[in-house]
């Protein structure tokens, strides 16, 4: 009878086990002398690529105003309901603007749905990953913390245009 050799059937040398152990030990020993990947964080900072999804920010145009028209799609699509938008009327051409735009960073899960759904490219994921709070109130990021000059997020916008 010619039984097919299965993957889990071991050869004689594998069954003895010791050569395999030595192989394994040799592998770890070699690894010990290889260069390390660790980034020593507070001294050396990781600068993420454009595809990185850090904390969401609002794009501020060069005239100092937000792009957002407070359509509320980001708030609607946000799976953990982290975003709260309150619209109001403005005399600008865009008619409406967010009088209040708040992201609860405790709720945010950095999924990036908000930027994906945004019809105005007004909310994008930044490269900021350094978030810490000592109270619930501190974690409510209002417009003051969210508005970011467009220059700082230009590469993310380019990335989105290219891949979205």
């Amino acid at each position: 009878m010619n039984l097919r050799r299965r993957k889990k059937d071991l050869t004689f040398w594998e069954r003895i086990y010791i050569p395999e152990i030595i192989k394994g030990l040799a592998l770890t020993l070699r690894t010990m002398f290889k260069p390390k990947f660790t980034v020593e964080y507070p001294e050396v900072k990781f600068i993420p690529p454009a595809s990185y999804r850090g904390r969401p920010v609002l794009v501020m145009e060069e005239n100092g105003k937000e792009r957002c028209v407070a359509c509320g799609l980001c708030a609607r699509v946000c799976p953990p309901l982290a975003i709260e938008v309150q619209a109001a009327e403005t005399q600008d051409e865009k008619e409406r603007y967010p009088v209040k735009f708040e992201i609860n960073m405790i709720r945010c899960i950095f999924c990036g749905f908000c930027e994906e759904v945004c019809p105005e490219e007004a909310i994008v994921m930044s490269k900021d990953y350094e978030l810490s709070f000592s109270s619930r109130e501190e974690a409510l990021y209002g417009k003051d913390k969210l508005l970011t000059p467009i220059k700082q997020v230009q590469d993310r916008i380019d990335f989105l245009r290219h891949y979205k």
């Binding site: 010791i18 152990i21 394994g24 030990l25 592998l27 770890t28 020993l29 690894t31 390390k36 660790t38």
Partner: protein, 343 residues
């Protein structure tokens, strides 16, 4: 040598060994973390002190500050007793391990061993089997299913591997013709190390030593993925530190024992032929002993970060169907050697 001198020298030796043990244990933890990091392309602890050298003290400090939690269901006395047994066993075993030849100081000959007992090996075996009580009691007294499973596994594992360990030692005893550790060391002159003469015994003993110290790949009593923390699930603060210390102390004991029984103990092969002064020879020999232990400790850690844990049935199969017969074969092999070469 008067009785007073004996007590004084013994006290000094105990003190030295105890201090050395404590230091080694704490730095062993440090090196465990460092080596594990290196094996995974990481850097390891490097924040406390230069290269993280003060990390062990930070660890101990942290553990000491933790809340000591005793579960409501626990048997409080035994729960407290268990880590003490573990520590006690770990430290007392060291009494019979020789770490150098006899030295003559101020006209007095001092053996570099705390207690040169003529049943030393039996003493070691007895105490190491006592060690299982610590774990089993800890597991049982915690009143937690994870702990209990860990404790039961540990007793089964210890009993199984003690047998092959005992038989492996049998081969060594046949050569040395004595249960005195000092005599066993002296019997391994030159390259006549037991590891060379009886490789099978060496391997079975080595494997059993891993099993007895609950080190990976034999750390089933702890088995984090399945048993949370095994027998020490319900331990915290200094009681947990007790088990932690005991595990690393046991590693040192096991290494020392392996060195003593199989790797020629403190002997540096053919050092007599170099014609060095007696004092220097003694120092070199103590250093030799330490280097051998250091290598074995590295080996322990190295194996831990290379080999995955056994499944429980694999563990038992290995113990009873492989290690036990192999150790018997080893005894026959040694007997044959003795018969043929009339050693």
């Amino acid at each position: 040598m008067t009785i007073l001198q004996l007590i004084a020298f013994t006290a000094v030796k105990i003190l030295v060994i105890f201090t050395m043990m404590m230091l080694t244990v704490s730095y062993l933890v440090y090196f465990e973390r460092k080596i594990s990091a290196w094996a995974q392309n990481r850097l390891g602890p490097n924040r406390v002190g230069w290269f993280g050298l003060l990390q062990p003290f930070a660890d101990v400090f942290k553990l000491a500050l933790k809340e000591d939690i005793v579960p409501t269901n626990a048997n409080k006395t035994i729960h407290t007793l268990a880590p003490m047994i573990a520590l006690f066993v770990a430290f007392t075993t060291y009494a019979v391990i020789p770490f150098g030849p006899d030295v003559t100081m101020f006209g007095i000959t001092v053996p570099l061993v705390v207690a040169d007992v003529n049943i030393g090996i039996l003493y070691v075996l007895a105490l190491s089997s006592l060690g299982v009580y610590a774990i089993t009691l800890a597991g049982w007294s915690s009143g937690s299913k994870y702990s209990l499973l860990g404790g039961i596994r540990s007793s089964a594992q210890m009993i199984s591997y003690e047998i092959s360990m005992g038989f492996s030692v049998g081969g060594v005893l046949l050569f040395a013709g004595s249960l005195r550790p000092v005599a066993i060391v002296q019997a391994q002159q030159g390259w006549m190390w037991n590891a060379v003469l009886q490789p099978i015994g060496f391997i079975t003993f080595l494997v059993s030593a891993f099993a007895e110290t609950n080190r990976l790949p034999f750390d089933l009593p702890e088995a984090e993925p399945e048993l949370v923390g095994g027998f020490h699930t319900e331990y915290s603060s200094m009681k947990f530190a007790g088990f932690f210390l005991a595990e690393y102390a046991n590693m040192i004991i096991a290494s020392a024992l392996i060195v003593t029984l199989y790797l020629g103990g403190w002997q540096f092969p053919y050092i007599e032929s170099f014609g060095l002064p007696a004092g220097l020879v003694a120092i070199i020999q103590v250093l030799t002993f330490l280097v051998k232990i250091a290598f074995l400790l590295f080996f322990f850690i190295w194996v831990r970060w290379s080999i995955p844990r056994f499944r429980y049935d694999q563990l038992m199969n290995l113990g009873w169907k492989v290690m036990f017969p192999l150790s018997l074969i080893n005894i026959i092999w040694v007997a044959c050697l003795i018969m043929i070469f009339n050693l």
